[in-house]
């Protein structure tokens, strides 16, 4: 499907939260990969496990959450079981991160310059002065006007959009090969969202950085991603090239998701909606997790859980595409 070796490979990842009422499986046996320079969008409702997948990749799952199975490989090297110090050197240097809320991602007591230079000096062999020059360069790259002056400002002196640009600059400090961006535009004004998305897209093209873009906004995915993974209740429902998934959604859940996006020039009277809500982690139904809400449900969906099945360039976790299974159902 993709050329060359993948930059990031996630194999059968499982994230668990032990609680007193038993263990919750928040991410259940998911596999995907990201090629160098590729933008993978990850969509899903909140609680689908997409942010946790991102946190697991950068090795910052909040306890008691933990990786309970599977592997995460960066350039063929396992990173999910690295000791803290080794993983620290991966974070920021090889994998950058962008968080949701730029207002709270920056330390209010330090100038943005100090936060940039400390990150640069930590990962690159540079003097303070050289790091400061690089910091100014980065601020210019992310489109902050008068960067020489702005670098000595404190976060509270910048607007939300400006702060998210600083956060992006921080993620790019050491030229990482992958950026995990968790809802990078959700907390921003709609008018600024587009600017930030364009910025991420441009910078990644220029630097050849791959991006895992976690969002619940299908519009952002359509505009930015090369491929897209649709998550539902801790599993991947469908993953494939963004065109295929959007134009020819195969999984009934994806179809529903696409149907809920308003389209310009479409005179369709009503937006489609998916009945019901995603199950809570404590009560995931047997079989396919989507079966109680699925319009095309049949017996097998209620008993056995489908694994991803190759359909063209995409993989779909749905019994509808299992030839033998479908035949049996009919």
């Amino acid at each position: 499907m993709q050329a060359g070796t993948p930059l990031l490979e996630v194999k059968n990842l499982r994230v668990e939260f032990p609680t007193r009422r038993g263990t919750l499986v928040a991410v259940d046996d998911i596999s995907f990969s990201i090629a160098p320079g590729e933008v993978l969008g990850v969509v899903g409702e909140s609680g689908a496990g997409k942010s946790l997948t991102g946190a697991a990749i950068i090795g910052l799952l909040e306890p008691p959450g933990r990786v309970a199975g599977g592997e995460i490989l960066l350039d063929g090297r396992r990173i999910d079981n690295l000791p803290y110090e080794k993983m620290r050197r991966v974070r920021g240097k090889e994998i950058g991160a962008i968080f949701q809320d730029p207002l709270t991602s920056l330390n209010p007591l330090y100038t943005i310059g100090r936060q940039l230079t400390e990150t640069i000096v930590t990962h690159l062999d540079m003097t303070e002065a050289a790091a400061r020059d690089r910091a100014i360069q980065l601020l210019q790259d992310v489109g902050i006007p008068a960067a020489e002056r702005r670098i000595d400002h404190y976060p509270h002196q910048l607007s939300g959009g400006m702060r998210q640009r600083v956060v992006i600059a921080l993620a790019l400090c050491a030229n990482p090969r992958l950026i995990v961006a968790d809802e990078p535009t959700t907390a921003l004004d709609v008018s600024i969202q587009a600017q930030i998305i364009t910025l991420i897209k441009r910078l990644c093209r220029e630097h050849g950085t791959a991006v895992m873009l976690v969002t619940h906004d299908m519009g952002v995915i359509a505009e930015t991603a090369d491929r897209v993974a649709v998550m539902y209740a801790g599993r991947i429902a469908e993953i494939g090239p963004v065109r295929d998934v959007i134009r020819r959604a195969r999984h009934p859940y994806t179809e529903g998701l696409m149907g809920s996006i308003p389209k310009l020039g479409n005179v369709q009277a009503r937006l489609a909606q998916i009945d019901g809500a995603m199950p809570r982690l404590t009560a995931i139904p047997q079989g396919c997790a989507f079966n109680p809400r699925c319009t095309k449900v049949f017996d097998r969906c209620r008993t056995a859980r489908p694994d991803p099945i190759d359909v063209g360039d995409t993989k779909v976790a749905c019994w509808l595409y299992d030839q033998a299974g479908k035949a049996a159902a009919e």
């Binding site: 050197r89 920021g92 968080f99 991602s105 330390n107 209010p108 007591l109 990150t119």
Partner: protein, 330 residues
């Protein structure tokens, strides 16, 4: 900066006026100073003269004003109990109280802050659990009981340290110090520990909970995602942000030390202002009570002022254009 200081100074003056009002009310209306000062035998003539001398025939606000003017000059009248000028009594005892409070405050901060940082950073080690349990015992131990137990062990049973008094003091001008003689230093040990212990545990618990609070923030998570060294995150980012609330509350705690000196001085018969105050309360010596109250209020206001200035130095959000900083409450 100047506007900030002036505003704080004005507030300080207002607080002093309010406390002065309480002290004055105490002075003028609690008990009957005339009959107390006259004793048993007096004529109506001497009574009238005393009333005029004390200015008690003047209107309320004139009396209040006179009281403030006198107070500002250090004139608080004559102690009913000891028949000496209140100012002299307080000045004789001021060094004892301040030296004790200084030692206790230094001890409480020097031990409490590092313990708080340690237990905040390493929440699950057995040392942290032990410290936390011990600190709860510390909070539950009334100051006077700590003093009694220390006397029992170190003075009565072991006979190592003196159980009362200041030892030999050296006069430096009007100031008497116990720092310069071996007996003076030995006499400081038990009272300082007694006074420090309660505040120490409070400071430790406070620093710990603030540290935990800060470690949960997005900017600390983002600092980890940037791959900064643990040392830089814990002692650079987290500790500095912890400082802001810690400074405020530690300031209040220092005020507490001066107040609890009353208890410690009583247990150790330490010749300080607190011991004088408690004797005055028992014997209704109003001038001493009023003067002590004003002096203590002055120290509190001074500490609060210093705290505000420190706060201002640590937090850039206060320094630069407060309007743009938005709602930063504390």
């Amino acid at each position: 900066m100047i506007a900030f200081v002036i505003r704080r100074l004005l507030q300080a003056v207002l607080v002093m006026m309010a406390v002065g009002f309480v002290a004055f009310s105490l002075f003028a209306y609690v008990g009957d100073p005339v009959s107390i000062m006259l004793g048993q035998d007096f004529t109506e003539e001497t009574r009238q003269r005393l009333v005029t001398d004390l200015g008690l025939d003047k209107p309320f606000f004139v009396q209040y004003f006179n009281f403030l003017v006198n107070a500002a000059q250090g004139q608080f009248g004559i102690s009913y109990r000891l028949a000496r000028p209140v100012t002299d009594l307080l000045m004789e005892r001021l060094p004892a109280t301040l030296e004790l409070s200084f030692c206790a405050a230094t001890l409480a901060l020097a031990v409490g802050v590092p313990m708080g940082v340690y237990t905040g950073l390493n929440r699950d080690t057995w040392i942290s659990r032990l410290l936390l349990t011990v600190s709860l015992v510390g909070v539950s131990l009334p100051t006077f009981l700590i003093g009694i137990l220390l006397i029992l062990v170190f003075s009565v049973v072991l006979g190592w340290l003196p159980s009362f008094g200041r030892g030999t003091t050296v006069a430096l001008g009007w100031w008497t110090t116990g720092f310069l003689t071996p007996t003076g230093l030995r006499a400081l040990i038990l009272p300082s520990i007694t006074l420090a212990l309660f505040q120490m545990t409070l400071i430790m618990r406070l620093v710990r909970s603030e540290m935990l609070e800060v470690l949960r923030t997005d900017y600390i998570k983002f600092a980890r995602a940037r791959g900064l060294h643990n040392r830089a995150i814990n002692f650079g980012h987290a500790l500095k942000n912890t400082l802001v609330p810690v400074i405020t509350i530690t300031g209040l705690q220092l005020g507490g030390i001066i107040a609890f000196a009353i208890v410690t001085e009583t247990v150790f018969q330490w010749p300080g202002m607190g011991f004088l105050f408690i004797q005055s309360v028992s014997s209704a010596d109003v001038p001493v009570m009023a003067a002590y109250l004003l002096l203590i209020a002055f120290f509190f206001v001074l500490i609060n002022l210093i705290v505000d200035l420190l706060y201002y130095a640590v937090d850039p959000r206060l320094r630069i254009d407060r309007g743009a900083a938005g709602g930063h409450g504390h």
